[in-house]
């Protein structure tokens, strides 16, 4: 059995994702059909009651190659929290790599934010695509987006999976906000571990993501 597990938050029907994940050298646990709020107790119980060395997390619209995933795994020997990165959406120029400077004060990481704040300020401090090549191989980010974010069990236990109050869930934002606020760990983005984000908000394709049916069948599937 591998010492690394990938927790997959799965609500879509994407064969390409399945085949890419099956190639990764790690164990997998699929949380299928659960809403983000429903996942909190299950993810936290799993981390608490299992004994893997490294825990990674991803939603099922992100595709990574085995080589890039291995880069992330090996980086966990050096850093406490590592993550891949990618486009926030295909129809924008912003990536998930976000400048940590003043992040807590300036945008939705503030504890009381409004819908307008969310719309207008979410990406204000994100690096744009044309800025990526000039970044170093490892760069601190204020946001991971669950783009194959990994850490050791102890760190997961310190920062369990939590969501914002409805209508937002944003467990990824919650995680990064707490880490930034405590300033104990750094979230390190590995530049070579870029991930393909299959997402364009201009198009709501029910063949890919059907919100009317995707939460109907719930199950947890493990490879171990």
């Amino acid at each position: 059995m591998h010492d690394t597990v990938l927790m997959i938050l799965s609500v879509r029907n994407c064969k390409s994702f399945e085949s890419s994940v099956n190639k990764l050298q790690c164990e997998k646990i699929w949380f299928k059909g659960y809403k983000e709020h429903e996942l909190a107790p299950m993810v936290n119980d799993f981390v608490k009651n299992s004994n893997f060395k490294n825990y990674f997390i991803t939603p099922d619209d992100l595709i990574i190659t085995p080589y890039k995933f291995e880069k992330l795994k090996s980086s966990l020997n050096v850093h406490d929290i590592v993550t891949g990165w990618g486009m926030i959406r295909q129809n924008c120029t912003y990536t998930t790599i976000t400048k940590p400077h003043d992040f807590l004060k300036k945008n939705i990481f503030k504890y009381l934010f409004t819908t307008d704040t969310f719309k207008n300020q979410q990406y204000q401090l994100s690096y744009k695509t044309h800025e990526i090549n000039s970044l170093p191989d490892e760069v601190e980010t204020a946001f991971t987006g669950w783009f194959y974010t990994g850490m050791k069990k102890e760190v997961w236990m310190e920062y369990p999976y939590e969501c914002l109050n409805s209508p937002f869930a944003s467990s990824d934002l919650m995680f990064s906000r707490r880490v930034l606020y405590d300033n104990k760990y750094k979230q390190i983005c590995i530049k070579k571990s870029n991930v393909v984000h299959i997402s364009n908000t201009h198009h709501h394709d029910t063949s890919f993501f059907d919100t009317s049916t995707c939460f109907l069948n719930k199950s947890i599937v493990k490879t171990f």
């Binding site: 064969k15 390409s16 190659t65 695509t129 990526i132 393909v196 984000h197 364009n200 394709d205």
Partner: protein, 222 residues
């Protein structure tokens, strides 16, 4: 403020789904879209450097000059969408949206780190291999990610070094940045080539010519 979307998934479509009626008071009731073809000239030079084994030669980029040529100019009512051009092949677009005589939004088509989808309709496996080689070259040039909609590609690992995401040919999703179709396309009920895909017709075109026209008609890199 008005909200515009610029969509490259199947040709170019600009939409003003939501407009701000308060903001529009006393201003024009339409917007204008200008599209340009963005062309870059890269000056390269052969540089030589002495090293332990003699002299090494490298080609270095000295200067990049960008220029743009106006392709289309369209007026459109607020709240409506517009297709500035019916072209479906690759165009290095620079788009300007003007409102009330002011430049409101500008956008440059830039595939770097984004997902470009190719829907492939080859006549045989040989043609598919030819096209995949050109797509590999396109991927290196633009630093983009590649998805392919094609049943053969979806069922094999042969092209996994090129293709990041695989879909079946009839998959309708558009969860990518730029969408291109490669094949032989004709106007309905005729043998006339569809010029939206084949800007230089289809006469005497081999497999390589077809994909070159779709990807490089404007830029002629190959």
């Amino acid at each position: 403020m008005h909200n515009f979307t610029i969509d490259y998934t199947d040709g170019l479509v600009i939409d003003n789904k939501t407009y701000d009626s308060e903001f529009a008071k006393g201003k024009e009731s339409h917007y204008m879209v200008k599209t340009y073809f963005l062309h870059k000239k890269i000056k390269r030079s052969l540089q030589t450097y002495p090293d332990q084994l003699g002299i090494t030669a490298t080609i270095e980029e000295l200067e990049t000059i960008s220029d743009k040529t106006l392709l289309t100019s369209n007026d459109c009512n607020l709240g409506c969408w517009v297709k500035p051009s019916f072209v479906k092949h690759f165009v290095p677009y620079y788009v300007e949206i003007w409102y009330n005589n002011e430049l409101y939004i500008k956008d440059t088509l830039d595939c770097k780190f984004k997902l470009v989808n190719f829907t492939l309709h080859p006549k045989d496996d040989r043609e598919l291999y030819t096209w995949m080689n050109v797509i590999e070259n396109f991927k290196k040039e633009t630093q983009c990610d590649i998805s392919v909609k094609n049943d053969i590609v979806a069922s094999t690992s042969e092209f996994d070094h090129i293709v990041d995401v695989k879909f079946n040919t009839d998959d309708q999703n558009k969860q990518y940045y730029l969408g291109l179709h490669v094949g032989r396309f004709y106007q309905p009920n005729t043998q006339m080539p569809d010029l939206r895909y084949h800007p230089d017709q289809l006469h005497n075109k081999n497999s390589l010519n077809i994909i070159n026209d779709i990807l490089y008609y404007f830029t002629t890199i190959i």
